[in-house]
Symmetry: C2
Subunit: 401 residues, 2 copies
């Protein structure tokens, strides 16, 4: 534990720093980047020493990082990631698991664990992460900060390592909805829809029912604040598929497995890397995934996409708990962690399968541990969603209007 990194958020070794290259909305702010984005002259470890050893130092800086520098922000370091970004607890036995600043006896969440911890601890104003199956949203919820998974394809992942390109997105964290939105101004493409066009609020009952009662109860006041801002909430089931969260989980899991092995299997087979608990097992399961199950997942995905996009086409916004529960305790067994993972991924898979944008707001606590409320909108409505999150956050008294 060093004085400038009390929560072990940054990767070991010399800090990757870069001065701002321009002036803009992020003037005076500091940021960190998950160590799967390239920063020129520095290794990109991808959370695993064997990866670092078998890949060259970065010759260029990822365009998403350049965009933040151009907008006035200062890079102060690279943050820890779960190995190859394949995990949701935030554990990394090689680099050390970051401390969850808001709940030190619990996991920080991952895979963007260091970015969430650095923001939550106030070490940086802003941090880039990536989100394939929840890797920004889950640590945002667990660490009590704002986080966005943007619409799929909306923000550049050039110069970043891939896990499952069908789902990979470049997301980010901040302690205020305002800073989250300002970073969006630097990173997002222009939007066709106007910021005023979001609504009605759709409660997505299946997801609330899936949440632990204490988590749902802790987030109800935030939902009511959202209703005040947008207008009357409408209680809807996500769609007409029975057992929906089991089906989104299953489809996501099978497609992601195929994607992960197609992306990283060649390197794993050739290198035989040393992995921490759970990671190697997940890649072994990815390798063993049957093409038929992945194809079934894609068929479900196609129908689910059509349905959900139609539901959200007019500007509707789902609102539901980001995760069904707060972060698991550090003492949780691997089996308990896997159970949390499965139950959480059915929810995060909704935006993942459909390519929706999702912002998690640090809107409640359960026994002192943070839980987040997600706002979820149709593809391409990222700027409108960030603006809405800011208004809700102001209405809740989380930040000044």
């Amino acid at each position: 534990m060093t004085a400038d990194d009390p929560v072990h958020a940054f990767v070991p070794g010399p800090r990757a720093t870069m001065a701002p290259t321009g002036h803009g909305p992020l003037d005076g702010l500091s940021f960190a980047v998950k160590d799967l984005f390239d920063v020129q002259g520095h290794p990109t470890t991808y959370g695993n020493p064997d990866w670092a050893r078998t890949h060259p130092v970065a010759a260029a800086t990822a365009p998403a990082v350049l965009a933040l520098l151009e907008a006035g922000a200062r890079l102060v370091g690279k943050t820890k990631t779960v190995e190859l970004a394949f995990g949701l607890t935030g554990e990394n036995i090689h680099h050390g698991t970051p401390v969850n600043p808001k709940a030190p006896d619990r996991f920080p969440g991952g895979s963007s664990c260091g970015s969430a911890a650095a923001v939550a601890a106030g070490l940086v104003d802003l941090a880039l992460g990536s989100d394939t199956g929840g890797s920004v949203r889950i640590p945002a919820s667990y660490c009590g900060v704002f986080g966005i998974r943007p619409s799929w394809g909306a923000v550049s992942l050039t110069g970043a390592r891939a896990l499952g390109p069908a789902f990979d997105t470049c997301g980010w964290f901040a302690r205020s909805a305002r800073v989250l939105r300002l970073a969006g101004d630097a990173l997002l493409p222009p939007e066709v829809h106007s910021p005023e066009s979001l609504g009605p609020v759709l409660k997505a009952q299946s997801v609330w029912i899936n949440a632990e009662p204490a988590t749902a109860a802790a987030l109800l006041p935030a939902f009511e604040a959202l209703e005040q801002v947008v207008g009357l909430g409408v209680a809807v089931r996500v769609e007409g598929f029975p057992g929906i969260l089991d089906r989104t989980y299953e489809a996501f899991r099978c497609i992601q497995a195929q994607e992960a092995w197609a992306t990283l299997g060649s390197w794993i087979e050739a290198t035989k890397p040393s992995f921490g608990p759970g990671v190697g097992e997940r890649f072994a399961a990815a390798k063993a995934m049957s093409p038929d199950k992945a194809a079934e997942g894609r068929h479900f995905r196609a129908r689910f996409c059509q349905r959900i996009r139609a539901v959200l086409a007019g500007g509707g916004v789902f609102a539901y708990p980001t995760s069904p529960m707060p972060a698991p305790l550090l003492s949780a067994s691997l089996a308990e962690q896997d159970a949390v993972r499965a139950r959480s991924m059915g929810v995060t898979a909704i935006a993942g399968l459909v390519g929706l944008c999702e912002v998690s707001i640090p809107a409640g606590q359960v026994g002192g541990a943070p839980v987040g409320l997600s706002l979820v909108a149709g593809p391409g409505r990222d700027r409108a969603l960030l603006a809405l999150a800011e208004r809700v956050s102001q209405a809740m008294g989380l930040e000044a209007a």
Copy 2:
């Protein structure tokens, strides 16, 4: 020149073959894949021996390849690509440049040169390629076959090598619009827009004026056939920017350079690969690209995207020459090739910058060499565009109704 590969379309070495894994629209058809897609158990050379030497054999098969196998097609081999897909002539000094079956004294076009040549020579019914700055559309035009660059993000590039992720797409070639469409049924996500919704035809005068007069004249009958199918054509300038094709070229070139170096620079710096004529120079230029010029390119891109998406939002279809001229002669100097490249990329950059879908129809000849007519529609309208290309092709007598 071997009996089963008279045009040198396939990469050297044992053929990568896979039997169909299902039944569907592609039953009985054969296909090849550009050698930047992974096929389990085979190297992915990316057109360069140093790449092949420094990367492991593929442990998995790219999902796009799996989708064609599932739809009933048989994989018969991997086809040549320009090194690291960074070039439009189709030359590869390491593996040998494929012959253009329709114009043997001219380049086949690239970077998906082997896929276009294999389809044009009748060696396969269908072939996968990739298109960043024209790498499917240009060889389709040069070799007289159908080719599609789908909407950005519409078809999986998982398990495929990247050149510029902001622009990279998975496209394909066929000798008939019907087979092109059937492959789309296997590869494309479901579409929200109905197939009937395309029109009116928009002539995009700037692009016609940019074409050599003989090329424009050769494609006018096809344009008239298109008008017959869709209804009256409307002559429009692409938009309100003066000198538009210079600006699209410049924006595309600068962003692509930044993307290419961010994606491949680390490997190039670490490996110092041996490159053929032009390729090393293009990467050197990519390395030297100033962030300011790339940022300027992105600013132009943002405004251009908004304008063009608005123009096409109602279902309009641009129609213009895919390339301003037929393939350059094999005897063309590097300077002549570069001039053709610059003049062509201003046109291909339209779909590239905006993420539009584009189908090139083998609709004319100039002095015996093929030239293509492109139909270009808004993002996500791929299935409708393929259906329209088939109707136009039937109206032109290129295939049976």
